[in-house]
């Protein structure tokens, strides 16, 4: 038997170690982000990077990088933002529609061939998506869809269907069959029950699926890089890569970081605001398993 005193010390020690571990994890998580923020607000150019850049000095505070990014870029930031919004927005909308139908069919119907279909989409979804860039490119080149809005929106919306469809299916599985049956008895057919009862109940997960389907194209580089040749159709991701790969030593650090912040801000804000919700939705299958 340990004495009461000894046990108190053990508990205190455990608490100290726990906090140390967590502080370390937080420091690791934060330091690149902190670095981005600090750098984006400091004067340009920086001769060389040392740890000293991590200590902010008021005298070096400047929003010049933001000005440069937002107002004196070619192609203009607004054009990049507009293109990204078009690509990501329309892909998310199309993908979402398909995902809602897919989730409904897989969750609430027991049609002949259901099992085969699930295996089929499982198999298909395993094929590395980056690999599909090649056949897409060859196929779309023949169709003349390279360097067009449509040519990029099509593969983007397809990319989200399987994942979002399964997200919706898992969520619908958690809605008791009773509710749909009540609607059937109340006088609706299955389609009516889907639109008037099940779909409204799925709004939260559809919101999440839409967001995830938006983030994918929004931060895609690989496909856009291959498909978009004229810079007036460039997206934010291409713009950022362009800034980052312009080799001018440390002098473009401010630009890269300012760009990174502006581009990720809406996404981060959304993640942080709905974090509990997003994790809940994403782990519905995993945790229950």
């Amino acid at each position: 038997m340990k004495t009461r005193r000894a046990r108190k010390w053990v508990r205190l020690g455990k608490r100290v170690v726990s906090h140390l571990v967590l502080i370390l994890a937080c420091a690791f998580a934060l330091f690149p982000i902190y670095f981005i923020v600090i750098t984006s607000f400091s004067t340009l150019p920086i001769a060389s990077i040392t740890a000293q850049v991590l200590i902010p000095k008021l005298s070096q505070f400047s929003t010049a990088s933001y000005h440069a990014i937002l107002f004196s870029q070619s192609p203009s930031f607004t054009s990049l933002l507009w293109n990204s919004t078009i690509f990501a927005g329309s892909s998310a909308a199309i993908g979402l529609l398909l995902a809602a139908f897919t989730g409904f069919a897989l969750s609430k119907f027991n049609f002949p061939g259901r099992r085969t279909f699930v295996y089929f989409i499982l198999l298909i979804s395993l094929f590395p998506s980056f690999v599909l860039i090649l056949p897409f490119y060859l196929e779309f080149a023949k169709l003349g869809l390279i360097d067009s809005y449509l040519g990029l929106i099509i593969p983007y919306s397809a990319g989200a269907v399987v994942f979002s469809g399964i997200l919706v299916k898992n969520y619908m599985d958690s809605i008791p069959d009773d509710i749909e049956e009540a609607a059937l008895v109340d006088g609706l057919g299955r389609t009516g029950a889907f639109f008037r009862v099940l779909l409204p109940l799925c709004y939260p997960i559809l919101g999440l699926a839409a967001f995830l389907a938006f983030v994918g194209p929004y931060s895609d580089y690989a496909l856009a890089h291959v498909f978009l040749t004229s810079s007036d159709k460039w997206t934010l991701a291409l713009g950022l890569y362009n800034v980052a790969s312009t080799d001018s030593g440390a002098s473009n650090y401010g630009l890269v970081t300012a760009f990174a912040i502006v581009m990720s801000l809406p996404i981060v804000a959304f993640y942080m605001a709905f974090q509990r919700y997003i994790i809940g939705g994403l782990t519905l299958g995993a945790v229950r398993g």
Partner: protein, 370 residues
Amino acid sequence: MTGIRLENVTKRFKTTVAVDDVSLQIPDGEFLVILGASGSGKSTILRLIAGLEVQTSGHVYIGDMLVDDYEPRDRNIAMVFQSYALYPHLTVYNNIAFGLKVRRVEKGEIDRRVKSTAQLLGIDDTLDRRPSELSGGQRQRVALARAIVRDPEAFLLDEPLSNLDAKIRSSARVELKRLHQQLKQTFVFVTHDQSEAMTLGDRLAIVHHGKLLQCDTPEQVLSRPANRYVASFVGSPEMVFLEGNVASTGSGFSFVSGPVVIPIRGESRVGPVTIGLRPWDVAVGRTPQPGSLPGRVTGVERLGPSDHLFVDVHGAGGPPTPTAAVRALVRAYEYDIGDSVWVAFDPDRALFFDAQGERLDSMSVLPRRS
């Protein structure tokens, strides 16, 4: 009018037979209770009537219409689910109005009907709330209101009281019965609770392993159960069974079970027979009565107004001789464990079951000569 009729209905799932050749006629305005243990197929019968399942064979009629090929929405029945299945995203008002809106009833009419139904059930002050903000009792009323407001051909209720606290449950029973008398419509009510069934039903349909065992009034089911399963499932405390044999004894025949020897009349078949007694038909006394047997109290279950007594009956020779366990319902706090008692039972009430558990109508206890 709008009764419900099942004709040789069978429902098979992959490996099991959930409903096995059930025929059932429910006249218009009747309150029928389908009673069975969990997994007996009772809910499946209800779902077959609603059209949520389709039978493997047989026919379902609502009114005089053959509805085998009708979707649930075309059967014009209302259902109250065990979980209530309220629409979580709609207010109470819209939950109740849903079925009317779907059927494109005119707006003023909807409003009038929703409000009067809500008033009838005493939930008119909750109309703006969401189901998640309601108590269990209120949810149950909303589910009922949603059914009533549509003025359907029949009401199907799937254990609607089982999610309520014990206290509310008995008042909800009374209210449901009152509602039925008011509406005068056909109610089909599924439950596993035999006392709920006894208080509510005009008739009870007892289901076991998918088979309809008996369909009759509560009184008949209690006093003339079709077989041993029904006899033991209905009635509380449960029926006492004495396994024994019919043997010929000199002048006639007797039922013999350990120390218990009872002269019987009727069909004289020799072989294993079980006798069934309601605990309230077993009389216990401190002194011997004609035909009574000595015994010892081995357990007492205090039920409040009365005690449920467990008695080992033995022959005149005392405990070493074979004993038989019986139970009796007696006045509270009259006896205690270890007491020596004399046990007798009302001969007219004893039921006989053959080896297969079927009740033997022809057999009864020979009246004592006094």
